[in-house]
């Protein structure tokens, strides 16, 4: 399947290399994206839960 950026994507990748370590820029971006999503998932509060929590606290107080 040909995508809008397929020409760009099918060119040889750029690699970062240091000693025995080597990684493609794309893989690095994907890994950083995964870590960022993980961090966001942990740090962001659940908005819905916040409302529920208020409700739940009220009920408990009753």
């Amino acid at each position: 399947m040909t995508g809008w950026f397929a020409d760009f994507m099918n060119h040889p990748a750029t690699y970062l290399k240091s000693g025995w370590f080597q990684i493609s820029i794309t893989n690095l971006l994907v890994i950083l994206l995964m870590l960022a999503i993980f961090a966001i998932a942990i740090l962001l509060p659940f908005p819905q839960e916040k409302k529920e929590e208020r409700g739940s606290t009220k009920e408990t107080r009753k």
């Binding site: 995508g3 809008w4 990748a13 025995w20 080597q22 990684i23 994907v30």
Partner: protein, 324 residues
């Protein structure tokens, strides 16, 4: 909170507010979102579109290497011919100490490089009288005669480092004509189809092509050019700029460090695939057994990430972190 209080707290039924939860609705939303994202990113990026490797491409781009590989197949000195199980009994295969798993599994996919890669494909063609005569001479010869012809020619090619035009004259029987015939067949594109042909309507088994490719430099060079070699984290990579299998980082990691990255180092480097498979098996077992491994199972107490996720709950319930 004392241990007894904690047990009472944990065992007590939930007294807070409850809410109906539509599990099917949640699932449908997830599937729809993922489908939309998959379609969007497919339209945006497409998929890897590397031109296929073919015997025609190999024979045209590096005719001498193809020719030399064909001779190795006849001489029984190629990587496939000396691989051992599951293709033949000409090698011991990999082992971990006394565990010869490859040999124990036995020959389940027999491949005779002489007939499967050279003689049978050539026999399917309408051939010149030279090739027909060479085939007849090969078939009529004894096994030892065949080996002598092919091995002498293979040695002669190795001596001149694969440059066919520099090979010294000698008694190589019909081997040069057979190798030249197979090279011409490959250049015309007929070898690709002949190796794939299995007699069924759908041709889905590419084992022979891949093994033959692997015996020469064509596949190896293509792998190096695309950064797909195991020694350069290739297991994690994809052709072009597409992301690869980043989750295989740990598997790939072992191939970069000694002794695994040195094929000459015995016993581990020479059997790296087997040792790394065993090592990853052990690590996976460790992952499965985390809940029962002392020290590891209590890590959440020392690194309380879950308290960060559920911080609102802990705050609302007034539960503080347990002191050591």
């Amino acid at each position: 909170m004392s241990t007894a209080e904690k047990e009472i707290f944990d065992a007590a039924p939930w007294k807070g507010k409850t809410k109906k939860y539509d599990f099917v609705r949640e699932g449908v939303i997830a599937v729809v979102v993922v489908t939309v994202l998959a379609i969007f990113f497919s339209l945006l990026f497409g998929s890897p579109d590397e031109p296929p490797l073919t015997f025609k491409g190999w024979a045209v781009s590096n005719s001498d290497n193809f020719y030399a590989t064909a001779v190795q197949e006849l001489a029984g000195t190629s990587g496939t011919a000396t691989y051992g199980a599951p293709y033949n009994e000409n090698g011991d295969g990999l082992n971990i100490g006394p565990l010869w798993m490859q040999r124990w599994a036995g020959v389940t996919r027999p491949i005779d490089t002489v007939n499967d890669f050279v003689i049978a494909p050539l026999s399917t063609q309408i051939m010149s009288s030279d090739i027909a005569n060479a085939l007849a001479a090969w078939k009529a010869a004894s096994d030892s005669q065949k080996t002598t012809w092919a091995t002498s020619y293979d040695d002669a090619i190795t001596k001149v480092e694969g440059k066919i035009s520099d090979v010294a004259a000698g008694d190589y029987g019909p081997v040069p004509v057979l190798a030249q015939g197979l090279t011409e067949m490959a250049k015309g594109g007929a070898l690709d189809a002949a190796l794939l042909s299995q007699g069924g309507f759908f041709q889905t088994d590419n084992t022979k092509q891949i093994l033959f490719f692997g015996d020469g430099s064509y596949l190896d060079d293509a792998g190096t050019a695309a950064n797909l070699q195991g020694g350069t984290w290739g297991m994690m990579n994809e052709t072009g700029r597409y992301p690869g299998q980043a989750w295989l980082w740990l598997y790939s990691f072992w191939y970069q460090i000694p002794p695994f990255n040195n094929e000459e180092s015995k016993p581990i480097g020479a059997n790296a695939d087997a040792y790394i498979m065993g090592l990853m098996g052990l690590l996976t077992l460790g992952l499965i057994l985390i809940p029962v491994i002392p020290g590891i199972k209590t890590l959440p107490m020392r690194i309380p990430i879950h308290r960060g996720i559920w911080s609102q709950y802990y705050k609302s319930q007034g539960i503080k972190r347990r002191k050591k």
